[in-house]
């Protein structure tokens, strides 16, 4: 057990990778064995993430130096800078890791019945596992270039998955847009990494953070990095790829591609808080993040109300919800240089924003899955053609209601908790921002009322008389997320204290992150 914990950081990345390489071989033997392999891998990853999380909350940051003679030997003997790639898992990384592992597990179980009706299943599962690898690697790595490599894994597998239903022209369009955006964004990030390398001859995040002098070149690199990550997480006005991609991605992968974009949110936070930290003029970049967040909230939700395609509607909501996270964490970033304001409301705003990531991942994932269930049974995403589905798909409509109430911030669901934290703390920073956030929440409820009314209520339409409830694996996938949502709704205090606050502190305390690698040098 002790050995497992010591190696868990790398195993979380390497085991799904090994399974992904094995999947094409196994599926030549048996389709059933393949499904079992994929599910078992993800369950094992979830287990490893949980034991690693436990270890991190007890013993602090987990360090793993790849290829050294000992995992904790970050810097070679008699030398002053790290040379090898280091995995550095702190409370924030493992927080994102928990989200990725959980949502991926639910989404994969959901995908099983979808794949029975499509060809190319072995490729699908391979790409699915690679997407998980990309997300977890991006979250766990402590090296800039390694982060770029995992960003590319995530982008390429995500784009291939989005284009999976090649019989539709729009699927290819969505996949193509995603990969172009990702390629340009990733190359810009690589350029910024080159700028760091030219100045400090370092690639490790902690070592770079220690050496950071905030020169003119660092400012340029900051602009490039922050905007590239913002584009990848679909912040307005660089969000337009998101509805195109999310709406065409096949069953179960939409939540995963969405969580992958949340991993890029992690990349943005890591850049701003850990890489630059207090050397950065935090008020400026904090305000930039806040403005993008507010724009995302408002434009996302107003465009969502207007949509008549159910998955596009939800994709715009995904953009709008990312705005809350950017707003909450942006307020924390703006007051990072001011310890008094940080203690009185900045930290709580950040906690709200970070708590919103996990809440949103859960209910947004659930909503994407219900939308996909509608598409699976009706063969259309157009809300104008739907109606009366309450009668045919009872469980799906219950899941939809729970998800819709949670996303609209209706108490007692978990969306309310995090939104309340954001409202309260942002109000003390700037009341107008808080008012906009509440307004957006109301429009969110309005738009989900519209979606529910159009799809689930109304008279039984004759053309959908024979529509049945979705198969069991789909219900299990949605059920897992629903149960977690209800658990989070009932015990928000527990969640906030045990996993959210450590993540917030991990972002704020840059010195801890640096010392874990540099050893106080």
């Amino acid at each position: 057990m002790h050995t497992l914990v010591a190696h868990s950081a790398i195993l979380i990345i390497a085991i799904p990778l090994l399974a992904a390489f094995l999947t094409p071989l196994i599926s030549r033997v048996s389709k059933k064995a393949r499904d079992i392999l994929v599910i078992a891998t993800l369950v094992f990853v979830e287990f490893l993430v949980i034991i690693l999380a436990k270890d991190i909350y007890l013993n602090g940051i987990h360090i793993y130096t790849l290829g050294a003679s000992s995992p904790s030997l970050t810097i070679p003997e008699h030398y002053m800078v790290p040379v090898r790639i280091i995995l550095e898992v702190d409370a924030m990384s493992i927080f994102m890791g928990i989200i990725s592992a959980t949502v991926s597990l639910a989404a994969t179980i959901y995908s099983i019945s979808f794949m029975k009706e499509e060809t190319g299943g072995d490729r699908f599962y391979t790409l699915l596992l690679l997407l998980v690898v990309g997300m977890l690697g991006l979250e766990f790595t402590g090296d800039m270039f390694n982060m770029f490599v995992f960003l590319e894994i995530l982008s390429i597998s995500g784009a291939a998955l989005a284009a999976f239903r090649t019989r539709f022209a729009d699927a290819l369009e969505g996949g193509f847009k995603y990969i172009v955006i990702s390629a340009v964004g990733a190359l810009v990030i690589l350029f910024a990494i080159g700028i760091f390398y030219s100045q400090y001859n370092l690639l490790n995040i902690a070592a770079l953070a220690q050496a950071m002098q905030y020169t003119m070149l660092d400012k340029i690199a900051l602009a490039l990095l922050a905007m590239a990550f913002t584009m990848k997480l679909a912040g307005v006005p660089m969000h337009m790829w998101a509805p195109d991609t999310y709406s065409v991605a096949p069953a179960g992968t939409t939540p995963m591609i969405y969580i992958a974009s949340q991993a890029c949110l992690y990349g943005l936070f890591r850049t701003c808080f850990t890489l630059y930290g207090v050397t950065l003029n935090t008020a400026t970049i904090g305000w930039i993040v806040i403005i993008i967040g507010v724009l995302s909230m408002f434009v996302g939700v107003t465009m969502a109300v207007h949509q008549s395609d159910v998955k596009r509607l939800m994709a715009y909501h995904a953009i709008s919800q990312s705005g809350y996270m950017l707003l909450g964490v942006g307020v924390g970033l703006a007051v990072l240089g001011n310890p008094e304001a940080l203690a009185s409301y900045g930290r709580e705003a950040m906690s709200g924003g970070i708590f919103h990531i996990i809440n949103n991942a859960l209910y947004k994932g659930l909503l994407f899955l219900t939308a996909e269930a509608l598409f699976f049974r009706l063969g259309t995403r157009d809300l104008n053609k739907m109606g009366g589905m309450c009668r045919n798909m009872k469980y799906t409509s219950i899941f939809f209601i729970i998800g819709a109430l949670a996303i609209s911030g209706i108490p007692p669901f978990n969306g309310f908790t995090s939104k309340l934290m954001i409202y309260e703390s942002v109000y003390r920073f700037n009341p107008i921002l808080s008012v906009i956030a509440m307004l957006v929440s109301i429009i969110t409820l309005a738009s989900f009322t519209k979606a529910f009314q159009a799809a689930f209520t109304g008279p039984a339409l004759p053309q959908y008389k024979d529509v049945k409830e979705v198969p069991k694996p789909m219900l299990i996938g949605m059920g897992i997320l629903t149960i977690i949502i209800i658990f989070f709704s009932l015990f928000p205090g527990l969640i906030v204290n045990s996993i959210v606050n450590p993540a917030t502190d991990a972002l704020i305390n840059q010195a801890t992150y640096i010392n874990a690698v540099m050893g106080g040098l």
Partner: protein, 110 residues
């Protein structure tokens, strides 16, 4: 957590249970003569034949029509900006990079 001190999900659950109980009370006091499958469940429209299910259902694009009309000045340019052309997405990106860099530069100057 200061913000959570006054708010407890258990209170909401209790309120929800009470609400369900009240609804059940109302429902139990309703007409006992109601039977499914008889003329009672049919739609009554002053003796006219009710329209088809297709016609009765309010479609998604009809909902909030007034809202969109009132905000036409906001919606028209916004929807027009969502061109769906990949080149425009990159234009937005490089614009944002340029704006951010300029802002950081100006802040550094002052």
């Amino acid at each position: 957590m200061a913000s959570l001190a006054f708010w407890n999900p258990i209170a909401c659950i209790i309120a929800f249970v009470v609400l369900v109980a009240i609804i059940y009370l109302f429902r139990s006091r309703g007409q006992k003569k109601y039977k499914k499958g008889t003329a009672q469940t049919q739609i009554f429209l002053s003796g006219e034949k009710p329209p088809d299910a297709e016609q009765r259902h309010i479609r998604a694009h009809n909902i909030y029509w007034g809202f969109f009309q009132a905000l036409k000045q906001y919606y028209d340019p916004t929807i027009k900006a969502h061109t769906g052309i990949i080149n425009d997405y990159i234009i937005w990106f490089i614009t944002l990079v340029a704006v951010t860099a300029v802002i950081l530069f100006i802040v550094w100057l002052t």
